[in-house]
């Protein structure tokens, strides 16, 4: 490894509708180094990569690649310069063979027909480097995730690549497969290829990287030589020591156990155990990919549990569908407001009563008087700003749409409410209102399960929390034990 820079980013800035996601980030990538990029949720890692690959155009800043200066990249340009990105979602065509995928968009010769024999030979040459057993003629859909990833990397290698960017490459891999990947990275490095490596698994960062850059809230905090730092220092850089928002304080008085999850297992998570009391705000913390949403969706009956028990109000309950959960008194404010929370083209009124309209009907006929009473009651509870209740929900602002979702569930008079990222994408004022509502609900004795990717929010609101990493509980913390350092340490996989 020499100290010559392959890529330099100078003061890259990017903001979306007023929110700055990258703030003056400068970064050097040396030739032949493995450079790790770390940071908590929303630190700006993905956006930074997109700026390098040309998926987005920065508002400000310069990109210097091999001593040439660019204001921005485009996907074509970055690819022609030898930059390749392997995303978490693969870009492969499952019904085609490995060889065809590797040479997708690349013509071997000028013939109008494909010479499959030649194609497979060439593919084999590339695959040989990986010391693994993939046949070029095999269809991609039969491969394991790790092998698909290798095909994806092999695809990049058909071009003369100089910079390979790996975004959370190990998330779907088993330990053995991670070793295969690391061997590959090391051999690329020896050939002088630079690698940007993003992962929230800190132990991997120490295993593979030469240098590491920490991002936080869109700003670069520091770049360190990996050998000269340690886990604790890195986490210290990742967290924001300033006190963020003021959170409404609340004397939590919680009652008996309302809800208990026993050994829940399902899509990507296992052995989940926790209890929620009446009047308690119970946080589920974790980084992206920790399976927080998957767990609450399974509890709500929206996805299947493969095993485990749910005990609600002292009874063992089977929640096979959201309908079952709702009729027991469970509500869920889902993660994706627009696709899962509100029906955009229907009226505010219909959205508010959709979960209970059956209960205010007699012989299928909706009791409109009762419906109006419900709408009148709940539209005022949360002061939804609207001109009339026949208005389509699509015409409301994000915060008001979220209030519609909240009101819809409050109208069902739930005993347990699951909040999955309730403040995502809404403005500061509306956020505060939602915090107050959550606190008020808890004060009224409702059990709350709370998920947020904003650490400040998690700490500010929760009374107790569990910290997840990759579908397993790392620890359970009481309010007085909350600290960003602790939470991030557990969330990045340290038990």
């Amino acid at each position: 490894m020499n100290n010559e820079n392959l890529l330099s980013l100078k003061s890259i800035t990017k903001s979306y509708s007023g929110v700055t996601v990258l703030d003056n980030v400068s970064l050097d990538i040396r030739k032949g180094e493995v450079h790790a990029l770390v940071g908590a949720n929303g630190a700006g890692k993905s956006t930074l990569i997109k700026a390098i690959s040309g998926a987005i155009i920065p508002d400000k800043g310069k990109i210097i690649f091999e001593e040439k200066e660019y204001n921005s990249m485009s996907p074509q340009l970055s690819s022609s310069l030898g930059i390749a990105v392997i995303y978490q979602e693969f870009n492969l065509i499952p019904s085609l063979s490995v060889a065809e995928n590797i040479f997708m968009g690349n013509r071997l010769d000028n013939s109008r027909l494909v010479n499959f024999k030649k194609l497979e030979e060439k593919a084999n040459e590339i695959l040989k480097h990986f010391s693994i057993d993939i046949k070029p003629s095999q269809k991609v859909k039969g491969l394991s995730v790790a092998y698909m990833q290798i095909v994806e990397i092999a695809k990049a290698l058909t071009r003369n690549i100089k910079l390979l960017i790996l975004d959370e490459p190990t998330a779907p891999l088993t330990n053995v497969e991670v070793d295969v990947l690391f061997d590959l990275i090391n051999s690329l490095k020896e050939k002088g290829v630079s690698i940007i490596y993003i992962s929230h698994r800190l132990e991997e960062i120490f295993g593979i990287s030469d240098r590491v850059t920490v991002l936080r809230d869109g700003k670069k905090v520091v770049t360190l030589n990996t050998q000269e730092t340690n886990r604790k220092e890195l986490i210290g850089h990742m967290i924001n020591s300033e006190v963020g928002e003021e959170y409404p304080t609340r004397a939590a008085k919680y009652g008996e156990v309302l809800f208990e999850a026993k050994n829940l297992c399902g899509k990507g998570f296992k052995n989940i155990n926790f209890k929620v009391h009446k009047g308690e705000i119970f946080g589920i913390s974790g980084l992206v990919g920790a399976k927080r949403t998957e767990i609450v969706r399974a509890i709500f009956g929206a996805d299947k549990l493969s095993s485990g028990e749910i005990i609600f109000e002292g009874n063992n309950v089977m929640l096979k569908s959201p309908y079952d959960a709702i009729s027991k008194g469970i509500a869920m404010i889902p993660e994706e407001r627009k696709s899962q929370g509100v029906i955009l083209n229907l009226s505010i009124k219909w959205n508010l009563t959709i979960a209970i309209v059956r209960n205010i009907s007699k012989l299928f006929v909706v009791n409109l008087k009762k419906e109006n009473e419900v709408v009148d009651e709940y539209k005022n509870v949360l002061s939804i700003k609207m001109s009339d209740e026949g208005q389509r929900v699509s015409t409301l602002s994000g915060g008001n749409q979220q209030k519609v979702v909240l009101s819809k569930w409050l109208a069902s008079k739930p005993k347990l409410i699951i909040f999955d990222e309730p403040t995502r994408g809404i403005d500061v004022g509306a956020k505060k209102e939602i915090y107050n509502i959550i606190n008020r609900l808890a004060d009224d004795g409702i059990g709350i399960i709370f998920i947020s990717s904003e650490m400040d929010e998690m700490i500010g609101l929760s009374d107790r929390m569990i910290v997840l990493s990759e579908g397993e509980i790392m620890t359970e913390l009481n309010k007085e034990e909350f600290s960003k350092l602790e939470i991030l340490n557990f969330a990045s996989g340290n038990k």
Partner: protein, 316 residues
């Protein structure tokens, strides 16, 4: 923008008026009370099925098998009369029951597999078409009891019976859509079935019900048709689904689900009726009529699709 929203709201009625005026100027025979009653009688079958299709479209599906149902149920019911001498009321009821079952099968199949409704009901269309030919041996079945004639050809007072039946189902259909929670559920699952599911709606059941109701209404229409042509014909419904779809979409029922009213769909059916009637009176050949109706469907769907896109971009 203002003109646009006026057109979106009343455009369909403007189109209808323009058509009526145009045909009225083109031919004196068109502008008579008896011709208007004639038009409404002609569209009563179309109208009834369009109500069923509206349920399906609003809930986010489509049913291409309605034309074949019209033929098949007619053939089956006529066979019950002529071959097995079954009581007319019972035979008609069984016919309608079978149609409801066919609709239910459509619904169960679509709700439980990921097969697109277009393909699933296309398959059903073919199956029913074949079954109709098998049962009838490819020929119309004549020799119906005189008493069933009343349904398709009779009058109650001065008004033809089919029109009375149509009006009854318009009232019931509008009631279901506007006043019952089932109607709400149709709109909800047609707009966003994931939100509907997360709100505790049994999406599969509601979807199946929409198809079952469409089948039921197709059954009613089939009995009227059988009675009107005085036979069970295996070909009478061929291509009828095109007219039904055109009527519904013209009337503002969206092919992407979640939008539409029975009233609009009925105006759509009227446009189809006026168009057919007017073109016949003006001696336009049947082949040209097909071309014209196809163009009308294309225009209506294009308008619907442009409208939808606009609404989506407004939502952002």
């Amino acid at each position: 923008m203002k003109l646009n929203s006026i057109f979106r709201k009343y455009g369909i009625i403007i189109v209808l008026t323009v058509l009526i005026v145009a045909f009225g100027i083109g031919n004196k025979l068109f502008f008579t009370v008896s011709n208007f009653i004639n038009i409404i009688r002609q569209i009563s079958i179309l109208g009834i099925i369009t109500i069923g299709m509206s349920f399906v479209l609003i809930s986010g599906g489509i049913d291409l098998s309605v034309g074949s149902q019209l033929s098949f149920i007619g053939v089956v019911t006529a066979t019950m009369f002529t071959k097995y001498d079954i009581n007319p009321l019972l035979a008609c009821s069984i016919g309608i029951l079978i149609a409801t079952l066919v609709g239910t099968m459509n619904g169960v199949f679509i709700a439980n597999t990921k097969v697109p409704p277009l393909i699933a009901t296309l398959a059903m269309q073919q199956i029913l078409l074949g079954l109709g030919y098998i049962i009838s041996k490819g020929k119309p079945i004549y020799g119906l009891t005189q008493s069933v004639k009343f349904i398709g050809q009779g009058h109650i007072g001065p008004i033809p019976t089919p029109i009375i039946i149509l009006i009854i189902f318009i009232v019931i259909g509008s009631f279901v859509l506007n006043k019952t929670y089932l109607g709400r559920y149709f709109y909800a699952i047609g707009s966003n079935d994931e939100v509907a599911r997360l709100s505790g709606i049994n999406v599969k059941l509601v979807r199946t019900l929409a198809y079952a109701m469409c089948g039921f209404l197709s059954g009613i229409a089939a009995i009227i048709m059988m009675s009107r042509i005085n036979s069970g014909s295996p070909t009478v419904g061929s291509g009828f689904e095109m007219d039904v779809l055109t009527a519904a979409v013209l009337g503002g029922v969206s092919v992407s689900g979640g939008e539409g009213k029975i009233f609009g769909a009925m105006v759509g059916a009227l446009i189809i009726g006026v168009l057919s009637n007017g073109l016949i009176i003006m001696n336009v050949s049947e082949y040209y009529q097909m071309v014209i109706k196809g163009l009308v469907l294309a225009c209506a769907i294009a308008f619907d699709s442009v409208n939808n896109k606009k609404m989506q971009s407004n939502a952002l």
